[in-house]
Assembly symmetry: C2
Amino acid sequence: MNAKLQWLRNKINSLDLQGIIITNPINIKYLTNIEAEGTLLITRKENIYLTDSRYIEYVRSILTLFDEITVYDIKGLTKDDYENFFLFCENVGFEEHHVTYAEYKEMIRKYKIHNLVETEKIIEKQRMIKDEEEIHEIIKACNITDECFKYILTYIKPHMTEKQIAQEIERYYKENAQGLSFETIVASGENTSKPHAVPTERQIQEKDIITIDMGCKVNGYCSDMTRTIFVGEVPEEIKPIYDLVLKNQEQVLQNYKEGANTRQISKMVESDFKINGYDLIHSIGHGVGLEIHEPPYIGNINDIILKENMIITDEPGIYIPGKYGVRIEDTVQITKFGCIKLTNSEKNYIII
Amino acid sequence: MNAKLQWLRNKINSLDLQGIIITNPINIKYLTNIEAEGTLLITRKENIYLTDSRYIEYVRSILTLFDEITVYDIKGLTKDDYENFFLFCENVGFEEHHVTYAEYKEMIRKYKIHNLVETEKIIEKQRMIKDEEEIHEIIKACNITDECFKYILTYIKPHMTEKQIAQEIERYYKENAQGLSFETIVASGENTSKPHAVPTERQIQEKDIITIDMGCKVNGYCSDMTRTIFVGEVPEEIKPIYDLVLKNQEQVLQNYKEGANTRQISKMVESDFKINGYDLIHSIGHGVGLEIHEPPYIGNINDIILKENMIITDEPGIYIPGKYGVRIEDTVQITKFGCIKLTNSEKNYIII
């Protein structure tokens, strides 16, 4: 059986569950590598994937004997089949954060489940720690992002619009990766003052500041990187802000390691920003994996203790409303003794 | 109060609900025109929109006094505020098909609701019938789609890849509409035999058949159109299939009108295909509105009686595995006496 399913079996055993119904497609991808519409059942004896005729061929092509997953076409299933899956199971788990109330009621009816039990994101929590294969995919996505950034620096010219640049990044990712991990942000001039700017028709001008937040997917796994760059020169008034953001971004890298408390790291940045007269208005980072934003969430609110092989971002930013903003972000892997940067694009003043 | 909110108030009244919590963002957009993250509460006396600081400015800019919606920043709300919203309400409705089981439990706790009641998609059902303003937006999206199709016929050249063509359609829609209503399908040669083909690197060749399924959004409202076109000439073996699909597509248009039973229409197509030796492998159409696929779903399974001002598609198709396929689709508006085609691109043999 594949290692992730084996882990899940042990886990539900320890929770006194005799089965579990997995419906979150990202958790199913994580556990089985299947990307389709369907339901994964872990029953007493079997691992079962229920899907329909559209996906049967594809699913069979993905799975190996080693996976030990039996695939059923739901068209062929009777009322009895559904009721037999969890026969003699006292407690069956489900994903209460993914299943709607209507689906919850339907599950109880269809599978005739005695006690359908909330499982408190056990799989999402496990997904925070990446295995070798997952890290490998993320590294690939980060490398492509570095390459794409290098390319886009040669592509950007004055009078291009933000949208045009964002579309070129998208084109590059479609060609070289499996698409975007999120809608690319290209913000220029005063638009950089909005952390979540959407690319507009604004044209790049001489002496502009440009923030580019970009990432792609490789086999479902995401990358995430932000750079703030300059056209022609770095305006004197922005230099101290850029330097302050970069200093803190580097400081966070210094502090990211197994055992570190992320709230303390976030507070450290906040206080350094405050001393210099600026606010920290968004969190410092987030987990990256099959989702572009996933646990752990790194900021002032939660005490998270970092663990080896978490993949997270480091992305402090300062925003002066109506004027400009600076954000610098890398995706990094936590290790026992520090962290490894997975995105490696230049961070000193980048002038195009 | 805006007409849609007034309708909702009357509706919940008739269901003996003293309030309702709306969380489905598409239903919120439908009722209020707001596109943000937040929750709409219809309480005994007030219409309330709860959101956070990111959206407050935007939401206030969207709403008029006439809407009679009070906007709150959730940051300022206390435990008591939440508990007071539905004070003295016996029954409060919620959207059981949108709310997760975890959110359901949290709602009961947070709002201290006595009896949280399933509402069986009352808003989705109402959304099937479009008002004048909605129809106007859909017509705009359909017109842009006709224009885009006309343009793309001049753009396609042999040796271009399917992906390239799909990207050009996307670029056109980004420029002229508010983006895509779904991922454009451009399938060529044997790829046309898959109804849900994804654009590939396959290059267009002389004598190719190409299926293009495309649609855009205008103020959230979608368009949907498919044409199957030919490069250089229409292969003799495909002609009878094209003619049969087109004949049935026209026949469906003839039958679409208020009072018509859609299962009968679908059965009619199925039997005409069968007589000619082909299967009907997907449904005949679907509703189009704020979602690209929404009720009513038109096929062999459900008896739907069409009503005036439903906007639906008409899209029969025939697919010969491994060889080719033909699909022709329009978006149409149902009237008392027939239907009005909203997409109007050529349907006779299109040869580029």
